[in-house]
Symmetry: C2
Subunit: 491 residues, 2 copies
C-alpha cells in the first residue's frame, strides 16, 4: 500500500480532489491518504508560508504529494505556497503535457501534442526584491549551473523515456548573455550526450509566438522559470481549456502532482468545476509510481467520457456535448467507464516498462580561478539636478590608488564619462570601479598587487565619509580570466 | 522640408529601406534624408555599440529616425544597438499595432486589432549581469517610478488620441510584489485620470495565453519591457506575418520608426523581402509628423496592393495571391496604387486633427522618509559540505551589537535557522542582517541609535577579517515606515 499526502486546497479544490480520490479508489489504485491543511486558512492563521510545520513531516515521509489549487490572500506579505514547496523539496522540474482533444474541446491545432519542461526553482521566482531609492525597485534573477544542468538533463531523459524526438531550448540570450547564455550553453553541452534526440534553440519572444501559431512543430520544450510560466499557459490555453491540464513537479527525492489551473473561487462549492486537470495530474502520479495499468485505465475512461459528450460547463458546446453535468455527475461518468477505451480520440497505453526518471546526483565541478577585479557601487543621489558630470567628478576625487572609476550608468546606460545630456536620469546610479592593476598594460607594472575585499571595504568607507549614500554593491570577478560581468550600454 | 535620419541596416535592410524611400518620395512626403552607418559593419570596426559618435549628431538634430533592421554579431560582448539608441534618446514607449489582414494574410482572428505599448528602457534590458560565484549568475531587473509613470500615461494618452476604449495592464505582481506591484499600482493611480477609458489588469502568463487564444478581446495593452517583447511577437505572429508589422519608439524629444522583424540575412540581396513592415513603420512616422494625408495615401495603397493579390513569397498562397513578386515589383505596385483605396479591407483615414502625443515632463515626487534597517550580504561559501547550520553559526558569531542575523537563504529559500536538510544549496548564500533597534519592541530601549552606513562598512570589515568571501550587498530600507524588501521563501 502506497501512502501519499493530499491537500484539498481552496476554492474549487475540495470538490475536484474529492472527485479525483473517488476515481482513484474506484480504479483500485491501492493508495492511502494523509490529508494536510494548506492555503488560505493557514495563511490567515498568521503563517506567511501557508503551510504548518506539522505538515512537512507528511510530505517528507510520503514523498508523493497530490495537491488541489490554493488561494494566496492578496497583500500582507504572503509567500506563494507552491513556490515554497517546490523550492524546499527541490522540485526542480515542472512538466506540463499540452494535448488537443478536438473535436470535443475546440482547438485550432488538432495535432498539437507537446510537453513543456519548466525550471521550477530559480530565476526571478527567488522573490528577492529591494526598493533601493525613492524611485527604483529591483528584483534579482538568479540562474545557477547545478539548477540548469538538472532541468536540461531531466528534459533529455524525459524525451528519451517518452519516446520524444526533439527538445527545443528557449532563452533570451541575445539580451541576457550571462544568465540565459549559461542556460543555452549548458543545453548544448548536455545535448551532446543524447545524439539520438534532435536539438533546437529559439529566442523566447519568437519561440512563444511560434508556440501560439504553430504548436504542432514542437515536441519537448525546456526553458527558464518565467518563460516556462508564460509559454505553458499559452500552450494549455490554445490546446483547449486550461481546466484540463495536469502537471507534475519532480525533484530528486520528491514529487508533487496538481492541476495547472487556479482555485477559481467564483464557482467554488457549486458543483460546477471540471476535475479533469487534477485527474490528469493524478494519472501522471500513477505513472511516476509505476502503476501504469491503472493510469491507462483512468485516462482512457476520462477520454471516453469526453468523447461521449458528457461535459462540464467550461467545455460544454451544442455541437459535441450530449449532456451538461456537474463535478459529481462527471466523476460518476468517468467511474462508469473504467475499463473502456475511446474510439475517436487516441487511447492511452503507458508502457509496462516505464520507470521513474532517476537523475545522477549533481557533482560540483572543479573550481575556476576567481580574481576580484573591481566593484559596482550603486548610489542614491538626487542633488545638483542629477548632473552625471558632477557625481562623476565627486566620485573620481575619492577613487584612491587601488581603483579607477570606469563609468557611471543610470538604468544601464552610460552617463559618465561622455554621456548624452538627453539621457533621463533617475536617483539610482551605478558606479563601476576597476582595479588599477587590471588597467595597466605595461608589463613592468604588473607586479602591482591584485585588489582584495578589504580594498572594497576601504572604498565604501571613503564613500560613506564623503556623505554619499551607497545602496548596494556587486563585486566584479574574472573567472579563469574571463570577465564575469556585462558592459554598460554605450560603453 | 523635414529632415529625417535613415539607416539602411543589415541583411534585407538596404532593400526594404530603398523600397520605403521610393514610396515616400513618390507620395510627395517632402522629406530630406541624412544617411548614417549602423550595425554589423560598425560593430566589426571595433565599436561595441554598433554606432559611431558622428552619427549621434544627426539623430539629435533631426529628432526623427527611420531605421532598417540590423544584425548584432554573435559573441564578443557587442551591445544591442536598438537598446542603446532607445535608452540614450529616452525612447520609453514601443508601440506595436497588430491588425489581421484576412483573407489576404491567413489568421484565425480576422477581427483582431490591438496595440501593444511596451516599456522600452527598463526591466532586465538594462543588461546588468554579474557572475557571482562558480555556480551562480545574476541579472538585475530594475523598475523605476518615473519610467513606469511615463509608459502608463503614454498608453492612456495613446488610447484617447486613437479613440481606443480600453487599456489592459499586464504584470506578474503575484510573484514580484515590489517591482510589478509598483507598475500595477501606478496603472491604477494614473488610470483614475482617464474615467472614459475602461481599465483591466491580467497576470502576464494568463494574459499572454488570452492574447494567443482570443486577441479580439484586447484593445490597448500596456506592460513591462520583457513581457511586452514576448506578447508583441505573439500578437504580430497570430495576426498574420511578422513581416508586415511596423512599430514606433517614442520619447519626450525623439522618435524612431522601424519594422518589427529582424534582418533575415538568409534572404538578403535576393529581392525577396517584404517591405511592408518598414512601410508601416514609415506610415506611423508620417502620422507622428502630422503628415496624415500622405500617411493615409500610402497605407491605403499598401492595402490595395495586398487586396489585389500582389504578394511577396512570405505571404504568397494560391488561394488569394494573383502574382508572386519581389521587393522591387511590390514597391512599384504600391506606387502605382497611390491615391486608390482598398474595397474589401477597411480603408484608413487618419484624422486631420490628430497631433503627436505630448507628455507632461516628469516631476520628481516629494521624498519619502527613508530609514536604513539592515543589509543583505551575499557570500560565496563552499566549505563543510555547504551545511547551512555551520555558516549560520559562523555568521552569528560576528554580528556584533548593531545587527542580528535574521536568516540565511539559498536561491531565495530560507536555510537558516530551521532550514530543511533536503534543500539543495548552491555556493551562493544571502545573509539578512537587521538592526537590533528594529527588533526591539520594548519602548524603553527605543532610544537605541538607528544604524548608519558606517555600521555596514564595519560589518563587511568583520566578515572580511573572518576570511569570508562577500560578493554583493543590498541595503534594506523602510520607506515611510513600509519595508522596502521582500521576505525569504519560508520565512
Amino acid at each position: 500500500m502506497q501512502r501519499i499526502t493530499v491537500a484539498y486546497g481552496d476554492g474549487i479544490g475540495p470538490e475536484i480532489m474529492e472527485s479525483t480520490i473517488k476515481i482513484l479508489n474506484a480504479a483500485n489504485a491501492n493508495l492511502e491518504y494523509d490529508v494536510i491543511e494548506t492555503g488560505e486558512k493557514v495563511y490567515l492563521q498568521g503563517n506567511t508560508a501557508g503551510i504548518s510545520s506539522d505538515s512537512w513531516s507528511y510530505l517528507k515521509n510520503n514523498k508523493i504529494f497530490l495537491k488541489a489549487p490554493i488561494t494566496t490572500p492578496q497583500g500582507g506579505g504572503y509567500k506563494s505556497l507552491n513556490v515554497t514547496i517546490r523550492k524546499t523539496l527541490g522540485l526542480f522540474a515542472n512538466v506540463r503535457p499540452c494535448v488537443a482533444y478536438t473535436p470535443y474541446v475546440k482547438s485550432y491545432f488538432p495535432t498539437m501534442d507537446l510537453v513543456i519542461i519548466r525550471e521550477n526553482e530559480e530565476d526571478l521566482y527567488a522573490g528577492i526584491e529591494h526598493r533601493q531609492t525613492d524611485e527604483v525597485f529591483q528584483a534579482l534573477k538568479l540562474i545557477s549551473i547545478p539548477g540548469t544542468e538538472k532541468i536540461v538533463r531531466y528534459a533529455f531523459e524525459y524525451a528519451k523515456a517518452n519516446n520524444r524526438k526533439k527538445v527545443t531550448c528557449m532563452t533570451k540570450d541575445n539580451i541576457m548573455k550571462l544568465c540565459d547564455g549559461a542556460f543555452h550553453s549548458i543545453f548544448n553541452e548536455i545535448g551532446e550526450e543524447y545524439p539520438e534526440i534532435e536539438k533546437d534553440h529559439m529566442i523566447i519572444d519568437i519561440g512563444a509566438a511560434m508556440i501560439a501559431d504553430k504548436p504542432e512543430r514542437f515536441d519537448v520544450i525546456v526553458t527558464l522559470n518565467l518563460y516556462g510560466d508564460i509559454v505553458s499557459d499559452i500552450a494549455a490555453q490554445i490546446a483547449g481549456s486550461v481546466g484540463l491540464g495536469g502537471s507534475s513537479n519532480v525533484g530528486e527525492g520528491f514529487a508533487m502532482f496538481e492541476a495547472i489551473h487556479g482555485s477559481a473561487p467564483d464557482i467554488a462549492g457549486q458543483d460546477k468545476a471540471n476535475p479533469s486537470g487534477l485527474i490528469n495530474g493524478a494519472v501522471m502520479m500513477l505513472v511516476h509510481l509505476g502503476k501504469n495499468e491503472i493510469a491507462s485505465k483512468i485516462q482512457n475512461a476520462l477520454l471516453k467520457t469526453l468523447e461521449d459528450g458528457i461535459h462540464t460547463g467550461d467545455i460544454y458546446n451544442s455541437q459535441n456535448s450530449t449532456k451538461l453535468v456537474g463535478t459529481k455527475e462527471f466523476t460518476d461518468a468517468v467511474i462508469a467507464r473504467l475499463g473502456q477505451k475511446p474510439s475517436i480520440l487516441k487511447p492511452i497505453e503507458y508502457s509496462n516498462e516505464s520507470k521513474p526518471i532517476l537523475l545522477k546526483k549533481y557533482v560540483p565541478k572543479p573550481k575556476l580561478k576567481k580574481e576580484l577585479v573591481g566593484v559596482d557601487v550603486f548610489l542614491c543621489w538626487d542633488d545638483q539636478d542629477r548632473d552625471p558630470n558632477i557625481i562623476g567628478e565627486i566620485i573620481t576625487s575619492i577613487t584612491g590608488i587601488r581603483f579607477k572609476l570606469k563609468m557611471i550608468t543610470n538604468r544601464g546606460v552610460k552617463v559618465y564619462p561622455n554621456g548624452m545630456k538627453e539621457t533621463f536620469c533617475t536617483d539610482h546610479w551605478r558606479c563601476r570601479f576597476v582595479s588599477i592593476k587590471s588597467m595597466v598594460v605595461d608589463e613592468e607594472e604588473m607586479d602591482l598587487e591584485p585588489i582584495a575585499q578589504s580594498d572594497i571595504v576601504y572604498l565604501l568607507d571613503k564613500i560613506d565619509r564623503k556623505g554619499l549614500d551607497f545602496i548596494k554593491i556587486e563585486n566584479l570577478y574574472n573567472f579563469d580570466g574571463k570577465a564575469g560581468y556585462s558592459m554598460g550600454q554605450g560603453e
